[in-house]
Subunit: 530 residues, 2 copies
């Protein structure tokens, strides 16, 4: 059954249109407008969507976790039922290959199912129970019980590079709904059809499970002011964002200037350094070059975890490694970037790098430059040169990586100190590198949210122990992740109940623990009554 | 053995002085300067203290949790060994009674010991282990292991109202040291001798346990620019603050404007509404009036959890309740406020309230107004009047509470909607109030970090399940607490290790789990190998 796409906003369970202005997404292959027009969000749409979310909040928060788990499973099913139509829209709007679109849809559905599992296991509540203790110092302790509650309406900004997993039905949305927060999505304007299809799947599931229609809205727009107005709306409690450093920082600044500041959980730019030791180069040079080329060129390098800085020893083995990478770059079949602003930023990156390190140190692949197609690029530099040009150590979104040659550990550490906070840092090393690795680990730990050993940072595993975030500018809140199930913590806050009668406590805190919820009781973990 | 007090900064394990300017604290009883002069911090002191903290960070983070636990126990012992001298200084500098100072010292020492226990139990690591899974969707899962690591150097601002528990040796310091973060304390200028004594105890313990001397510094100053320079220093990773909304917000704004923003965990102003239902009034009116008067008048109401707004039904029983409170206020023996700025702000509060609600609605106790002594104050208003004057619904630090009379549930809810985010909200109700309580709980949950049943919010229990924080302006990060052992989370961030060889993993993540650390392994809690 085909889902209709009307180009309207999705508000209060319905498709709605209050203005005349429209926009069209572009076909990245040709650069031409796609045929379908989408209505631009109006201030009236914003007000209705946010008020609806606020009105829905108490009813949504009051639903049992098991109800919300069922809702999430239903959304996953609905997305997979519409898979064919969604994947077609993704490919049309983003030029991502079918395999990637299909994998991303599975991942996105599984994220909903994983959060449903979390809700059923109950860890998200972070429940702590400290019963009355007459002998506590300096005064007797009352009965104190604490658990997480949802924060309120959440605004989610979709990203262009993951039209599903980090967009309308992405982790920000699934984790916020799991937490019990109504969601208003500002869809990314490069894939409005994909967003509408997914938004309708979420609306359907809410209806099926009798959740208030205000629990989800989708607003589509090409205007930055719409995003700003959402972040500044006094009824909004938190924001999830994935995108550029400039965009994330602008929203973060707006949110911090509110009379009541709110957190903008922005996952932004990341350099993702990857280090190769001399021993690793000797033992696995060819293999690493191949793996690395795949990692930074796959889907035109449009991953926030793309290895954008590669540290390789100077010398013959390193020279050969670099020529292997250069060969891969020249042989790379160019494909279109996601959106005109992505292509324009990429062009600016190349221009700036050419000016900084000299054109002779820039290798470009071939391309027809048709539509948004751009060449793959490899930049080479010495550690000494790079120290002088550390401003190019920033995210260059697209199929580009900078290889820096180092002569010594001191050299290596000096470059690493200049690397901004990153999502990932990768080490390719061998057992005999133990001393070097011991010197590097504290530095890398301070720089990144995820450290990889002999691997490649793209292809983020969606699992509980994943950390997808890092010191600024990788993310605005390095204590939080936007991938994996602890992402739910962004949208919850603890509340303590002191000396409450059992029947008035939230179910998960009651003495008989009817949900068998995992709780820390006086510092000891227990699923038992307390 | 008496500890010398030299009035110097404590930096790198030593007492140090680089400038000529000094300041003196005041005797709150007389308003006169106390005899001892303390050196004002210079920019050079800041640079030395912060660089020392940054230099100490890697070595400190590398120490085993059990070493840090021993350090914390030693600090607790050292504080208690110096108890007599510290308590004398507290009383001289703050005019707080001996019982309160003694209790606070015990609490402060116990906080260090509690964090030591946390470190030995291992919950602070929040360890998650997801071993390799070939069948994960959409792609195979690598071995992913995650745990919390310290964020880096932490700046702590001492508060005036808790010269120990929220000041130099307070929870911000103990939790940051527990996390593995070096600490630079900006001592509160109203109790510099207390700060120096406690700072020396911490220095001694660091020395005894061979921790780098840069792990702790104490800087003393009366100048706001010193605090600003600390928050803006690029090597500082996080800030803990307890104090006024204006002060906390100023630091929060500075930190957010940094090129790399950092979190300022500020615990600020709180109204702490307390509701009395008609049924509770009838059954326990006298008792509640007595408990409430004690709660808001004890130590001149200089608690962030002081009940500053009391909602009482209109009618005869309510009238009697109010006259009991008024009698307590008139009979209250005035005592000095903590510091000149506290007294000045209190005078402004009374002035503003008189202008707003009319002097006829303000009851004042008697006072000599000697030194910083100020009268207790009770303000009365109807719900309807208060709605028009909602701007007085803010923290009035000192012995003042506003009683608002309500005629209906709608009345009550309308006032509550105007209450800003608070640390606490208290309900005095009876079993027959179930319907009313059910209507109130979602509203109160949205307003406060801690809900109390038939109790009083002052006298915060220091325990794992405590939540001392709340929606803005109660705190800047309502997901975090500044009391209780989860306060350590403010100073840690997760790092994921992907496919690391076992011998290079942090001990707590190794397959054989040699620490018996509590870990979530594939979503199941376990202390076993994995």
């Amino acid at each position: 059954m085909t889902t209709p796409v009307t180009g309207d906003q999705l508000i209060l369970g319905e498709a709605s249109r209050t203005g005349d202005e429209t926009f069209n997404a572009l076909d990245p292959h040709t650069g031409d407008a796609l045929p379908r027009a989408f209505a631009q969000t109006t201030p009236d749409d914003i007000e209705r969507a946010v008020v609806a979310a606020s009105d829905a909040f108490v009813a949504m928060a009051a639903r049992d976790d098991s109800d919300r788990a069922d809702l999430l499973d239903s959304i996953a099913d609905a997305l997979q039922e519409k898979a064919e139509q969604i994947i077609d829209a993704v490919m049309r709007e983003t030029a991502l290959p079918r395999g990637r679109a299909t994998g991303e849809l599975v991942r996105t559905a599984e994220q909903f199912r994983a959060f449903a599992t979390v809700l059923r296991q109950g860890w998200h509540r972070d429940a702590l129970v400290d019963p009355h203790a007459a002998d506590a110092l300096p005064i007797a302790r009352p009965d104190v019980r604490r658990m997480n509650v949802p924060v309120g309406p959440v605004v989610v900004f979709g990203a262009s590079n993951f039209p599903l997993a980090f967009s309308t039905p992405g982790t920000d949305t699934s984790s916020a709904l799991a937490a019990g927060c109504p969601v208003v999505v500002k869809g990314h304007p490069s894939h409005p059809e994909t967003s509408e299809l997914c938004g309708r799947a979420i609306q359907d599931a809410l209806r099926r499970h009798d959740f208030p229609a205000g629990c989800f809205s989708l607003l589509q727009s090409t205007h930055n002011e719409i995003g700003a107005a959402l972040v500044e709306h006094p009824l909004v409690a938190a924001v999830g964002f994935t995108g550029s450093e400039a965009g994330g920082r602008a929203l973060f600044d707006l949110a911090n200037r509110r009379p009541s500041p709110i957190p903008v959980y922005a996952e932004m730019g990341s350099v993702n350094p990857l280090l190769v030791t001399a021993a690793a180069l000797e033992k696995r040079g060819h293999q690493i070059a191949e793996g690395l080329a795949n990692s930074f060129l796959f889907c035109s390098g449009q991953y926030c975890t793309k290895p954008g800085l590669v540290l390789v020893p100077s010398g013959d083995a390193g020279d050969e490694f670099v020529s292997l990478l250069a060969r891969a770059v020249r042989a790379h079949e160019a494909s279109p970037l996601l959106a005109p602003n992505v292509a324009a930023a990429f062009d600016r990156s190349i221009e700036r790098i050419r000016e900084t390190v000299g054109s002779e140190n820039v290798v470009c692949g071939t391309t027809s430059r048709r539509g948004l197609e751009r060449p793959a690029v490899l930049v080479t530099s010495s550690a000494a040169d790079l120290e002088a040009h550390a401003d190019i150590l920033t995210e260059h979104f697209g199929p580009l990586s900078i290889v820096v040659r180092y002569r010594s550990t001191a050299n290596l550490l000096a470059v690493l100190q200049k690397v901004p906070g990153s999502l990932t840092a990768t080490l390719h090393a061998e057992p005999e590198d133990q001393g070097l690795v011991a010197a590097l680990l504290p530095v890398l730990t301070g720089k990144a949210g995820r450290l990889l050993w002999n691997g490649y940072p793209t292809g983020v595993s969606v699992t509980g122990a994943m950390m997808h975030g890092g010191p600024y500018p990788a993310s605005t809140f390095p204590a939080h992740t936007s991938v994996g199930w602890t992402a739910i913590r962004r949208f919850m806050r603890p509340v303590t109940f002191q000396d409450f009668p059992d029947e008035l406590l939230p179910t998960a805190l009651r003495s008989d623990n009817p949900l068998g919820s995992p709780r820390l009781v006086d510092g000891q973990l227990s699923n038992a009554p307390a």
